[in-house]
Symmetry: C2
Subunit: 429 residues, 2 copies
């Protein structure tokens, strides 16, 4: 097939944009071999055309005029690599309506306005791809939408925030939370303001996107039950180690009884579980489905070239499917209810501090039994006049566990509030 | 887009074929939503149309006449799920020449005749997809060909044989090789004749396919340096454990200096390495490339529905890219030399049994130093009159390590032959 030029425009020409531009130039032969087309960046929208760039654009490519991109019939596909909700969102909508396929690396935009953008793309009969918006180069969106189409993915487990993974890994070696965070900042894994990482908001945005794509129903970021890692203490990490587990910030998306539950929280992960092996700032996503049992994808979840690599893959995929109608459907094709959080089932870890007096254990055990929650593992450690109880509970509905713990906490011998975290394990608990 | 029927034919209607047929029927809505097409199995080639099937074909679908498939203009894509080199290979060639895209689940065929088949498909201007031929549902071929197109993958590490992974995992718990193999056979993870698994031939076929796709140059299965696990003893597994490692059958494909090396052998894998966490009969493939650092895909590497899931994904991808020219290039587009095996670099583990006499260690160290091989770690254990030396060597060319070991073995105090295995580790050794 004779080579045909495909005009590419970029919205934004920062680290990612310059990297995309460089990759399209340097891998032009590979892309042409696979697609039959030469992808050329012919316009890039910037605020300041005079600024220095790590990979300079060709003469005349940089522009400050969005309409010059939207209205140029020679531009066949646009990569949005500018970030932020506006003006990026407005631009993407205008481009889709103008019939231009869009590739977006914008996590906030897709997490907040994905459902509307998917509908806009579908109505316009063009593709919107967004691999780079979740976990950089890990091709989880492509695998969900193209490889697992007939497999009914009903559960996603994800370590989707590298900063918290790095901090919790470091705490295993005995570092305090504060020291681990400081090291993450020093190494560039955490921002000067790490709030969105450590409070779980970043992971919640990614899990919202993944759940939306996997289940075909909109999951708004505010519907993700989110708890960060700021309350995690060395004692929790040590307790996990005693049980053969590690503490990780885990996103869990569940489709059960035609209802959806998405949550992000510190979880106790068995060392033998694939997610426990995810190192430092890496990300991993485990997809569980009917035909495939489970497939896990792991890799760097951030980084300029990693993100650019996903943008380039999406551009190639848009070109490789042009005119076929493929993936022009609305990714949100149904409206599923939200699962009653009390009905969400998991094994759990519970820590209780109690006065070292007879009967406390019997009381706790009877309250759990009354709510049909059974104990898989129990470790009691004595301190001065008080005891620490570490419990691993068999899978049970969250509501029953919470009800039992409320009754247990009301017992005067129980000191402070119980600490509860889901357990992620290979063995069915 | 109005739904259009796409006629699908199957070559073979055994476990995988019946599963593909079932999935296309049960996931028809999902597939139509994504592609705009309804995929229908309208012909399936079998030897005996009267045989009972787990998912019976509709009336008139089963046929014993290959020409009825090749010459039917209503058949748009064919899935080869019959296995074996012939007649499957002849059928696939004829179909491609007749302009029909083919999806193959046939590892032996793609590993042995892939290069010719890719060229045939390219010349005919149709796609040949073969995701299911490697690691069942793990979408590694799609990720290599579509997601990592601009990323120059230069190294692949794979645990691509579930049987040996299961056996070696069991040996860590103290089982003998024979007991572990017997258990694998009992659980259905190993065939009655497990030769191709334990001698590495199965893994070699998969690594040959992966290397061919990743590097764009034909790697014949006979060019894969292959060593199985039959010589692995509990002592090796114990020595690995002492070093914080596990023994695994690892495939390593390397592109260095425009030359290719592919090998399958028992390796010592650091417990902290993602491949060490791959459990039992699961498979994992790690892809290392310029822009992505590394991406690891893990999942079930075998199974009827898992394989069928990959076939369905390929069928969907063929339909989703029809008429675009995408992936109609010859996947073997260059001819790379084979790397001189002596130039292949790795850290290594070495075990030596030596007489417990002064000077042996000094001798071994001096021979290694003479060949510029340096020692990262050394453990000496004394037995009755003899000693066992476990060495971890820093990364060095295989030729230099082999030369040093030949000189060391010639020393009369060295008993028997050294045991050598590459080390797979996160840390650069």
């Amino acid at each position: 097939m004779a080579s045909v030029d495909v005009g590419v425009a970029l919205l934004g020409y920062g680290t990612v944009g310059a990297s995309v531009s460089r990759m399209l130039a340097e891998s032009g032969d590979e892309i042409e071999r696979a697609t039959g087309h030469r992808l050329r960046v012919i316009r890039a929208l910037v605020r300041d055309t005079a600024k220095e760039r790590s990979f300079p654009a060709a003469d005349g490519v940089l522009t400050t005029d969005f309409a010059a991109i939207r209205d140029d019939p020679n531009i066949n596909v646009v990569a949005e690599v500018m970030g932020g909700l506006e003006p990026a969102g407005g631009y993407v909508r205008e481009l889709l309506r103008a019939g231009k396929p869009v590739v977006s690396a914008n996590k906030q935009l897709v997490a907040r306005e994905g459902a509307e953008l998917f509908a806009t793309a579908s109505a316009a009969g063009v593709q919107l791809r967004f691999e780079a918006s979740v976990c950089a180069a890990i091709p989880v969106v492509k695998v969900l939408r193209e490889s697992l189409i007939a497999t009914n993915v009903h559960r996603i487990l994800g370590i989707v925030n590298g900063t918290t993974n790095f901090i919790l890994s470091r705490m295993e070696r005995g570092d305090s939370y504060a020291d681990a965070l400081a090291e993450a900042q020093e190494l560039g894994y955490a921002e000067a303001d790490p709030s969105d990482d450590v409070n779980g908001a970043d992971a919640a945005a990614k899990m919202a996107i993944l759940a939306t794509v996997a289940f075909g129903s909109r999951v708004a970021i505010d519907e993700v039950e989110t708890r960060g890692i700021t309350e995690i203490e060395p004692a929790h990490v040590a307790a996990a180690a005693d049980l053969g587990m590690v503490v990780r910030l885990v996103g869990i998306a569940t489709l059960a009884n035609e209802a959806v539950d998405v949550r992000v929280q510190p979880a106790f992960v068995a060392r033998s579980h694939p997610l426990a092996a995810v190192d430092g700032a890496f990300n991993a996503v485990m997809l569980q489905g009917d035909a495939i049992r489970e497939i896990t994808l792991e890799g760097p979840g951030a980084g300029g070239t990693e993100t650019a690599s996903a943008v380039v893959a999406d551009l190639v995929s848009v070109v490789g499917t042009a005119g076929t109608g493929f993936l022009q459907n609305d990714a949100c094709w149904r409206e599923l209810d939200r699962l009653d959080p009390n009905a969400w089932r998991s094994p759990f870890y519970v820590h209780l501090d109690v006065a070292d007096r007879p009967g406390v254990l019997a009381h706790a055990a009877s309250r759990l039994a009354a709510h049909e929650v059974s104990v898989a593992q129990l470790v009691q450690r004595l301190g001065d006049g008080q005891a620490a109880l570490d419990l691993v509970l068999h899978e049970a509905p969250l509501g029953q566990v919470a009800a039992a713990l409320a009754e247990i906490s009301a017992f005067p011998e129980v000191l402070g509030r119980p600490f509860v975290a889901p357990v992620v394990s290979d063995r069915s608990l």
